[in-house]
């Protein structure tokens, strides 16, 4: 007989015993030691049938295949660009993944993307040694001109985007700003100066209250108050 010692949505710290017995399965962020399942990091308990996993609350971004990220050009290579990804590992954008133009050997790559420019790209491959390949070919992948970039907690990004992007599109509708949220925790916004401020404050609010339910409704109310207009989702 297996005994569960925590509830769904409990905060647990490393080394805390989550369950005793073999009926439960250790999921992400947990590990088994003999009969016990213990927490392997700080996180929020999520119980799914027999499996117990932890949802991280903090921590830096780790590149993952398929993620769309906002990154910055930090170096020009022989055959592409090196990008800062807001993680411990830089990414490489190769020429053939950047554009369908024919680029002559020895051409000046800064004509395409210069140092310090911001790009939205998609991770196509991550090796075991965390070498990251990204592409610019795909819908919505482009270089970002103007606007500004700020960083948020990467673990809160899903809440900022919302279900099927509901939260972001609400922010866009309410403020008229263009917004791109990267999975790596970098957010690019462009719009009127006072509206940009509203977006930043709203996103900070989402980060703070990410664990509460009914957040979209709460944010709708908040945005209606600060913009003084009716907000559609």
């Amino acid at each position: 007989m297996s005994e569960l010692l925590v509830k769904d949505k409990d905060i647990v710290v490393p080394g805390e015993v989550l369950a005793v017995g073999m009926d439960h399965l250790p999921g992400k962020g947990t590990y088994r030691e003999d009969e016990k399942i213990l927490a392997g990091q700080l996180g929020l308990v999520s119980i799914d049938g027999r499996a117990i996993k932890l949802i991280p609350m903090s921590g830096r971004y780790i590149p993952k295949t398929g993620d769309t990220i906002v990154c910055k050009v930090t170096d020009i290579l022989m055959t592409g660009w090196r990008l800062d990804t807001n993680s411990a590992y830089s990414a490489v954008l190769s020429m053939k993944d950047a554009t369908s133009d024919y680029i002559q050997r020895g051409a000046d790559l800064t004509q395409y993307f210069n140092l310090g420019e911001w790009l939205v790209c998609k991770i196509v491959n991550v090796t075991s040694q965390k070498l990251v390949d990204v592409t610019m070919k795909g819908p919505g992948l482009r270089n970002l001109k103007g606007g500004r970039v700020f960083s948020v907690n990467t673990n809160k990004v899903p809440r900022i985007i919302g279900k099927q992007g509901s939260m972001v599109s609400m922010l866009k509708n309410a403020t008229g700003c263009r917004i791109t949220v990267g999975q790596n925790g970098w957010v690019w916004i462009d719009g009127e100066a006072d509206k940009e401020v509203i977006v930043v404050e709203a996103i900070r609010k989402i980060e703070e209250e990410s664990h509460t339910s009914g957040l979209t409704d709460k944010m709708k109310e908040y945005l209606e108050k600060v913009t003084g207009q009716k907000v559609t989702e």
């Binding site: 710290v13 080394g15 015993v17 590990y31 700080l42 921590g59 411990a88 040694q129 965390k130």
Partner: protein, 234 residues
Amino acid sequence: MGYNKRIDGRKNDEMRKIEAKVGVIKRAEGSAYFRIGNTWAYAAVYGPRELFPKFKQNPGTGILRCSYNMMPFSSSHDRVRPGGSRRSKEISMVTEKALSPVLDLSQYPNSVVDVFIELPETEAGSRCAGITAAAMALADAGIAMKDLVAAVSVGRVDDKIVVDLDYSEEAYEGGPVADIPVAMMPNSGEITLLQMDGLISKEKLKEALGMAKKALKEINEIQKAALKDKYKVV
């Protein structure tokens, strides 16, 4: 005669007053503050991030890099000369070794997790306070670890075994003194740091370690409470 009453009036197995808080340094990935009596430790964790110089990178795993620093005004005696010393270098090293057994950095090859421990006020037991704070800061930074680490000093003052020696006890002149900093994983009871300054018999050492284990359970509860307090649903 013997050491019958502790100088500050505590019981033999009683620690100084403890206070702990997590998330005190906003720009760090994780941070914590731990105070025991007049010893204050702040720990800040940055990373995992790219490791330079490059030759120190390990393709198999990320590495932990600790820095222990007593601030110039922290001592109750002479001013501490700023910058590293032989002592701080050693303590940084033992801190690293006390913490790395619980960490799993295999997901971050070639990278480094930096831990900075700063002590604005010290009065004995600073390496233990530093390790305890650093363990909380690492957990706050969301790094994979199998357990926390708690540390405390135990020791012998003349004929008595006491927990958490303060400066007056370390410097006791009425008889022999042994100061033993201990760091432990509270769940498994594995010891990750054990040093000693002084002399003690085998039996007394065993007794002292037993008392340390009990005290560390208490410290671990404080660590847990501090961590949960930061993420508490309001």
